[in-house]
Amino acid sequence: MIITKKKDLKDILAALEGKKTVYLFGCDSCAEQCATGGEKEIKEMTAALTERGFEVVGSSIPEETCYRQLVLKDYKHKKEIESADAVVVLACGAGVRTVADVAKESQPVIPALDSTFLATVERVGRFFEGCALCGECVLIDTAGICPHTECPKGLLNGPCGGVADGMCEVDVTSPCAWVRIYNRLKEQGRLHLMKRRKPPKDNSVGVRPRKTLLRGEGSGHEAGHGRKKQ
């Protein structure tokens, strides 16, 4: 799940300066679960903007706002969206981009949230960063604990000198990722994986923007990602 948090309202108001009518998009997927883009938050945003003299002409909460077809459907059926001076999106950055790409070039689309990380969900309302989306999974060697994600330095060959009594020097309340990897690999009888020297990361697999094309134009031999071999 993509975790989002609310931007400061004054930043949103600054971006809306000079506009009168506003349309709101939420997202019934990740942002709803983060309590940042569901029905309640749309209501709150509507009230906050109305109070400050804006006219909120309508709102939608697509099932997934990062899904172009769903956003397109709203734009087609609700004429008030296109006529609004601006659109405010309570969704992750991918949601904002999706709406911005569907909107006319002349219509400002403004994010109401900051996108923070891709999470594993411990239970409702408790999120922990789960994956850095680095492009080449190292969990195969690290017993399911990601050094890119859980070590602030992203080290690949074991703990740094800052590990203290098994805890991380950057956040002393968190156990060191590499100590956890060590303990788990030991438990699995696979410590040889940790003894092996890991080469530097191939950062070319993560060159942005990345894409995956399973169908349509450009798919086939290039499918998978946008990496171009030298």
Partner: protein, 291 residues
Amino acid sequence: MTEKSKLQKELNAGKFVITAEICPPRGTDTSVFIEKARLLKGKITSANVTDNQRAVMRLSSLACSALLLKEGVEPVFQMTCRDRNRLAIQSDILGAWALGVRNILALTGDHVSFGDHRDAKAVYDLDSVQLVETIATLNAGKNMKGTELRGATDFFIGAVVAPEANPWEPEEMKFEKKVGAGARFFQTQAIFDMDKFKRFFEGSVKFNVKVLGGILLLKSANMANFLNKNVPGVHVPPSVIDELTGAKDQLEAGIKIAARQVRELKKFCHGAHIMAIGQEESVVKIIEEAG
């Protein structure tokens, strides 16, 4: 063949060597830095030049290493993985060699969240094991992509180990990886438990690397208490704190304690690396006191 560094020659000859740390200035005024270098000249074998230590921005360790050479003090060029990607790392290493630097110490580097630029991007394109391997590759006349260099390096490659790390096993694995990657000498983090250090040293003998025990000058009981409270993993023993507290001049007591540690190391170790954090004149006293 280029001449080996004094550090390498003395260690290979079995001499007990002493190195110390000098910290670059927070600006372009190098007068104090040079003064410290002159103070240490002839007293130590080589001086480590720290690389934006504690993630606080300072004059570059490469430039300061070159300044030391001009003063006739042999530098150990410290390089962390925090601030440069692999292109910058390799080109700075080549630069250091071209300027006459012969010793290099590879470190991970304190995270930017400790420093004065907490909004900086922490790079860590390589880790310390990969950095050691990169230097070894440049020593072999190639860059990381296998391209032949027009002129290789021949650095004496060093790395860091924390003999008192808890848990020890993951640190031990990393130490062995650094050896395997090409590290030939180690400067350790500060020693607080000499018996533990000795056990580490004895275990390291089979790897045929040179080990310099890290000695941290405790300037006062307050400093020792501060370290215990605020620096994770540091455990200054109560007996040492008592010794500092009971002393008339706590700095003098700290110098005595450090000198005693150096004398201990002389009995079995290859050398001592003194970290005095801005107290270079005390380094001289420690060395004289240790005899």
